[in-house]
Symmetry: C2
Subunit: 412 residues, 2 copies
């Protein structure tokens, strides 16, 4: 029988009523003839409670014990979901990570999935079991200890199972009903997308759209897993939500698929850096070691052996970045006149695979912002994305204007 | 290094502060040179919460899923205890049942321990680990699924580990400070015993003294594990609490060690049963199948082919017993004139290994009760125990009078 993977996040299994509602959705797919693998998160709030206890017990905790404690939330949901399905006469059983076994690296709290053997679960499907309920977010290390995949790891678990079992689709049930052209709280004309390409979803996820974890989208793209984002709280139907898939499956699309934004950015400029081969490494090496997530980088044209280097990072990392650069200067690794931080900027991006074949998107974007009187501070482009840094006070205006300009409220 | 097993019950690990206090006690034993195996229960209340969810989800639950859900409470405590010990610079790690692996039968929710391999944990002791924190109450079945040992199973886990690792002692930390000659709430002169024999403890445990699970005492007796009951909430010392040990280690003891009682008993009499070979089986077979815990049984002298059969059982099982006997009569398996239930009785017992060599204990007991005007309804004796059923209203009086008569407030 064809296999379907269904993943339910913490709010979708927050209490016994919601678990029952989720189980009913699983029952509908079983009735259609699917063997279903259900991936569950911990009941909303439970993981935070466990993490709180660990942090209070041991601020510099042993990550192996952290994983052993924190993974228990998913085990509870998995058992309760299996029991709920059994009550509905759907043959089901639960699996903890080590029982599958879902093998991971030993990088506790941030482990990567290495292997998902299918024989145990397939044998049970062969015996008439219709639903395997698997505790998400967890696995077992080569040393036989419990690992976790990091926050949001249940999405990644779901996609990895879909790949391993060659599932027809991987449905991610969550508290939003799909992926939108932009944030509906900012642009009332925002439209839910029926389909979006993996590459676009990746850009949107890394830009802060919290619908899916970046890692899970990467994994889905690599193994070509059809990923559907759908709401747990709306009517069930086959074409609900948003399908994340390869671009070949998207017949027509707008040139730009979505406008993303990131509110809390900072723009930092090292003024008059002594330019020499390797200077970029000398600057960004220490920043990386200090855990600063550098996003956009712009180097102005060098004059007389000196250059200005501008980069952006999350606003809460500015102090850390300043400290790392001062220390590098003290060690004599870099030399600059001044370091200027602008903490009142936001990033707005236009994303779309259509950009690859269509020119003029950047020009249209710059003209739109100019018409609204929005000054662009930094520009960065990739094959399917154009991002600009602007003053934060213009962010909502820019998102709305670009959404209108690219006619995202209309289907292509 | 010698091994010590320390078990902490739910109230002793009810929150992070109590876990810290328990960890300090472990640290004291490590400092003395012991390698310590710590067995932990779930934080007080957690198991009840999980059991409640399972019951609400599925009243006739799959015991395998019940075990998977309910065992998670102990896993949390084990990880937190290991982290707390690490914070105190005591090398420690946690073990879940399947990691040991603690092998059990497949009787989910009431599994029996089959094997505890020592190689994994001993290898870690060899590498410098000083404390193995083990999640109590749980194991793994031959099918690779999580099992639980039933309520109070953590005591049994602790004794089984002490036996497997040839531990010097098994300390059970709980919220009482030891075993008493009788319930101090009933007899103010009740005295804490320094030592008590396994056999006596078994009788007291099965009579409702809730200090230790009957199974754990049986196991300790079979493997001659020195078992100490000690309070988590009092000063730590080597001779605190009560040592449960073989009678050879008890130099002197009173003839009677303790007076036990059971408040909610019922006395049931089948009047004028047609007597024939096999009649006892015909009566008590159906009762056993109906889940009635028959305790004392008395058959009056038979006259003219008919006899009266009296037995006792917990008062809440009377309805079930009546139904089972009526059905047996309807099936023609037994024949009686009447069934009379007296639900206003209590059981009072005197327990002591000294009875084996001393005659006159029963006579003294009956005389004491007679002097107080207490009428005895049923008598049952074993090698080290005399039990009587009396009207419930005399229970406290009987316990106090017997405690005085056998001078249990004085050390032998």
């Amino acid at each position: 029988m064809p296999v379907l993977v269904m993943k339910f996040g913490g709010t979708s299994v927050a209490n016994l009523d919601r678990i029952r509602r989720a189980a009913k959705r699983v029952g509908v797919e079983v009735a259609k003839g699917y063997d279903v693998i259900v991936i569950v998160s911990a009941m909303a709030g439970k993981t935070n409670e466990l993490v709180g206890w660990v942090n209070e017990t041991s601020p510099l905790f042993d990550a192996r014990e952290y994983d052993a404690v924190v993974s228990s939330g998913e085990n509870v949901t998995a058992g309760l979901m299996a029991l709920t399905l059994q009550e509905m006469d759907v043959p089901a059983r639960s699996w903890q990570g080590w029982q599958v076994p879902l093998r991971t690296t030993s990088a506790h709290s941030a482990a990567r999935i290495e292997e998902i053997p299918t024989d145990n679960i397939n044998a049970k499907f062969g015996e008439g079991m219709r639903v395997a309920v698997v505790a998400g977010f967890q696995g077992i290390s080569p040393e036989g200890r419990i690992t976790t995949l990091g926050r949001g790891g249940s999405d990644t678990t779901a996609v990895a199972f879909a790949a391993a079992f060659d599932a027809e689709r991987c449905d991610i049930y969550t508290d939003v009903d799909g992926v939108y052209t932009t944030d509906p709280r900012i642009a009332s004309k925002a439209r839910k997308l029926d389909k979006i390409a993996f590459e676009e979803m990746l850009e949107l996820a890394s830009l802060g759209a919290k619908v899916l974890q970046t890692r899970s989208v990467e994994l889905a793209m690599r193994y070509n897993v059809k990923l559907r984002v759908v709401s747990s709280f709306e009517e069930q139907s086959d074409d609900a939500g948003t399908l994340v898939c390869s671009e070949e499956e998207i017949m027509e699309s707008n040139i730009v698929s979505g406008i993303a934004y990131s509110r809390d950015e900072a723009k930092m400029t090292l003024i008059s850096v002594a330019d020499r081969p390797g200077i970029a490494a000398a600057i960004f090496g220490p920043l990386s070691e200090a855990g600063v997530n550098v996003d956009m980088i712009i180097q102005n044209i060098s004059e007389e052996g000196r250059t200005d280097m501008t980069f952006s990072c999350p606003v809460e990392q500015v102090t850390r970045a300043e400290k790392a650069l001062q220390e590098a200067a003290e060690r004599g690794e870099i030399n600059y006149h001044d370091l200027v931080a602008d903490t009142n900027v936001a990033k707005v991006s236009a994303v779309g695979i259509g950009m690859r074949s269509q020119s003029g998107v950047a020009a249209q974007m710059f003209k739109t912002l100019s018409d609204e009187g929005v000054n662009i501070k930094v520009i960065a482009t990739s094959e399917i994305k154009i991002s600009v840094l602007i003053d934060r006070k213009y962010m909502e205006l820019a998102v709305q204007a670009l959404h209108d300009a690219f006619e995202l409220d209309k289907v292509a």
